[in-house]
Symmetry: D2
Subunit: 368 residues, 4 copies
């Protein structure tokens, strides 16, 4: 299988390249870049010296030569390539937001400021969160070339943490708050003051508080899981680390799941009743994700931490309750460049092409 | 004024020492350490060479020689020194939790596992959050030697962010969620796996999720501000930085303050009505804190970040709403070792002794 | 092949475990720990959940069940296990310093303070720097079970950088200075003030200046390459990063290689003659290491950086001259836990057992 | 005293502003910026909110209104301002390289690529390393307005470490090697790939190896101290920290100072004779710098570390020998933005204007 990557020189693109170069089913790579066409990938990324060797070609060439195409481009920039790929009979895995909203163009346009250029393409696209949509992805792939709307990094962490509670009715009415922290690679390779070392090292702060455009994607996933609209409040933070997204998700428990009656959130000392309920919910999560190769439910007493999934495709999940037993606090940790972007894209490729879902994604995270 | 510090070699103690050594009203220092009695402070902290020169003496000696005493000791370990100080007619500024709950021994004991050894001392103690209790602190100081229960780091950041909304009725019913991240110095100088560089660098994760013992202190402050019990959910995280606490505080708006009717948290695109309401609330915060020397309300478009208050006693506050206009999101940034511990302790000394409140605390934070 | 690891819970041991768990020729793992016998590896390292599953057994059990044994133990602690392994006909790859000095017990004892307990074992041991000793390692392995003295982290970085210049006579008389910086994992998992986050973050400093015990190992390797004693001055530094060793190696050029006559080191503006000579030496290095799978000679204009080999077994080498054309400055970058410890140990296993030398070590470094 | 800063929005300029805003003798600030004229300083640096309040004016206005002018501009950009300041009778403290070479235009031009525009200004300029030139600075200031060529960051760290050994004849013939590591603020506020967080975090590497343009400035200072040309080899590294320069300086000992005869650098185990000689040299350094307010000679067993001088104007110096007793290894630590730039500039202002040399520079470094 020859795999192609358009937008190979951005951080997400380069991470796709790194994974494909080590993928047992990938026999060749064709890399595309508009900005650096003509240069070589290993000059752009000295870390790839001797391990990746490829010139940077035009997107058209990439589509022409590849059996599957990944695109890691700015939102809106890849639609015509998707069109061309489908026309050429080749599946297209898109890491931008362009195909994350299916036919809901209104929401996409309201948040991203651009319309759908080729609305008909949505008939071939599917939202690529395998733990939610695996059957749909497979079904679509059987019909011909497919376009994957690879999920956003924050929506991946938030959705994997909330879905079981929403599906099983553990989460009740009321807004779900997602407070998340991302490593700086989420900002990409483009230079900007926010990611200049001296301005973000040794500091934590939020950005786009209450208005980040991953919010509607999160809400959409929550609604699908719950079968009802779910209010969502989402605040991303920038943390001084290269990789990782840590999401702390606050979900009001549905009445039958509450440990005590009385005001939700009333302050009580830590107590065994709450721990028991947490254990119960933890078991339900473990059962829900029993067959998922990349989900790890942490044991009691442990909390998810972004460093422990670094460079892997795992999503670690830890389950907690507030001491009043009224709010479920689920913490998820993913590597934003892996399960949050390139790793998930390769996982989608594996599903589409019928490979083992873990192929090329077996990296065991080190502690450091 | 000769100032004394018991527990001088811990991180909080050493930070008090650093501040006092540069304080224009402090003419001498007497330092105490149980663990390192007989050694010199500048051997324990090579960064102090030539700037601080003091042998480490017994707590009794410190109390005997000092006009004011700071204690940075484990919870419960300083009660007898407080007793001795008061007896000697000397005010005692305690950085532990021992005097943060006034006469509410039940709550203290439920969360800290120890009783009050000298309950009568509470008649001389006051909770030392100046922005909340300045008048009380001053009043108590007039009566004789006072014991300051210097606030916890997280409660400081949470309370300064929530109090105006609670006092002014902007925050309505419903639990307030505080999602906070602290730098590693919060863990102190004691060695532990959690703070071994390789185990916490380049990673973010929560700890004591839903059950941290700063929770009842936060709830107590909120109740005083609101005049009613306020449910609180608090999750601290460890972030890979030396200093700082960033608190993101989610408060349901009281009905009259909500921008739209309909479900709180319903997802809407960012809109001007929400920005206007945020501006209004921001103005109210600015008015509320008009005379506070260490509170900075950030302008629209800016968000608080821990790095921008580093080594200063400032608390930066930024005001946001979710895009549905139903939840107030206040973000506060403090330096955990300064406004969160030693800086606030010195601020309390300044108040007690009638110095200018900013004396010794004028350090302007650098960006890096 | 069942592989065993004694001392599995230390950082180097855990890294060996991580590599073996992903090694295509390793069908099973037996892990040993004296301190944590009875516990499970994935409890000690939560990052291993679902990926590694093994109880921690006694060293004797590990030797009994394994086809090859790795030991990551304090210096001197593994000799009896080596003895037992050889007796059991099993090769023993030792990450301590015990077998790095062949039969030169005097040097070992002078620097490490302990004698050889089983001197006869040296007849079966070989110093495991494959780029220097591959033929010897292979020859020894043909004779029966072999003991690998796996090189120290600093000596690996220093030797790979200096050997070609010493072998080819590019380096002349005079001391070679190695100024190196290591990530904190070099200090291991044991808690210590030096590696407490707040004490080493955001700071660089040397330690054991001029007297680190990797010095004699470096000198030994240099002497073997040059065929004469080579004076060595070595200063390690601690840098605020998890992994990596960056070595800057200053070698006086032999007379015929000097670009200008006159005082060595005399200050001149950058000039083309110096660049040409550097290019020439760079080509010689590239030729010298032509067939080495893990050595990468960087192109002109690039300089080695530890981040670009992170988590890989590569050693990046960049070649520079001072502007006076009198001193060769070779910079090498390795991951201290990989090529500097566990990766090299696995590379040695591959050589001993006749596997492909890159098997299990194909990880392509990401930039971040 | 009204102090002016041209180039106030760069990192060095902003640091000068921060120091002047806290300086007891400075009653007002006038800030200048070409790029951001018309904006306010506290908008460019949110960390300055409430502590610094100043609009950004033209350089001409700054000179007109100020009693002393600092310039933190690119090399060559400030000459006309210096001319204007002198004409206006105002001293000019220049943080660029323009006035670091006195009348040696050839060297300046060879390394910086630009000529002197106003060569006559050199009659009023002096190289501002107070520990070397204090008397000269004072003398010049008596004659009228003076131009300070504020030293480079690396030359400051290197010179303070080497000067006593050169003056006292402890350092003998042979090249002096300076291997230094700098924090990223050395690269300034200008965006560049090298300082994009993800590209420099968690990594160490050299740059401009053997050809950095601070080399001739270092050599010039060494020659002045030694009274003879001193060969210099200098390699700067970038380390993942905000501030600080750590310089490890290797100086061949003059024959009478060598501990053993035989080959310099020959490998010996650590020994008492070497420690004694180091102690002797340490005493000589302490005596040499006895009256210097910002130099700290560390006690035996300690090594300089950049983190321990953070945000202070101190230069920490530790003295070591290689175990062969043939090479003096002096390690110096400064804060690159303080003693390496803005702090030293303010120190020069204090000298010129007859203030106490430590005024405004009394900040005691914290450990973290």
């Amino acid at each position: 299988m020859i795999a192609g990557v358009i937008g190979a020189t951005g951080y997400a693109g380069a991470e796709v390249v790194r994974l494909l170069a080590g993928h047992p089913q990938v026999t060749g790579l064709v890399l595309g870049s508009v900005s650096f066409e003509g240069d070589r990938m290993e000059n752009q990324y000295l870390n790839f010296q001797t391990a990746v060797s490829a010139s940077l070609e035009s997107p058209a060439k990439v589509i022409e030569k590849s059996g599957v195409v990944f695109a890691a481009l700015p939102h809106g920039a890849g639609e015509s390539y998707a069109q061309a790929a489908v026309k050429a009979g080749v599946s297209f895995i898109d890491l931008s937001a362009d195909y994350r909203f299916d036919d809901d163009e209104d929401t996409f346009t309201a948040w991203y400021g651009i319309p759908y250029r080729f609305p008909a393409l949505r008939a071939r696209s599917v939202y690529g969160l395998p733990e939610m949509n695996r059957a749909k992805i497979r079904a679509r792939a059987k019909e011909g070339p497919v376009i994957i709307g690879n999920p956003g990094c924050y929506p991946t962490g938030a959705s994997l943490g909330a879905i079981p509670a929403l599906v099983k009715g553990i989460a009740g009415e009321g807004a779900i708050i997602i407070d998340a922290a991302s490593g700086v690679t989420g900002g990409g390779r483009e230079l900007s003051r926010s990611f200049h070392y001296a301005e973000c090292a040794d500091s934590v702060g939020p950005y786009k508080t209450g208005s980040h455009r991953h919010t509607p994607e999160i809400a959409r996933n929550f609604q699908m899981a719950a079968g009802r609209p779910v209010p969502v409040i989402f605040t991303p933070h920038l943390a001084p680390m290269n990789r990782g997204i840590l999401s702390t998700i606050y979900m009001p428990l549905a009445d039958p799941w509450r440990v005590f009656s009385g005001t939700p959130g009333a302050v009580r000392p830590p107590n065994a009743a709450v721990e028991e309920q947490a254990a119960h919910i933890r078991d339900m999560y473990a059962a829900y994700y029993r067959d998922e190769p990349f989900i790890r439910i942490l044991p009691p007493g442990a909390a998810a931490a972004s460093g422990r999934v670094r460079q892997s495709n795992f999503c670690d999940i830890s389950i907690h309750l507030d001491q009043a037993g009224s709010t479920l606090i689920v913490v998820t940790a993913i590597d934003n460049m892996m399960k949050g972007a390139a790793g998930q894209a390769v996982q989608n490729m594996n599903i589409i092409l019928g490979y083992g879902e873990k192929e090329g994604l077996e990296h065991i995270p080190a502690l450091f």
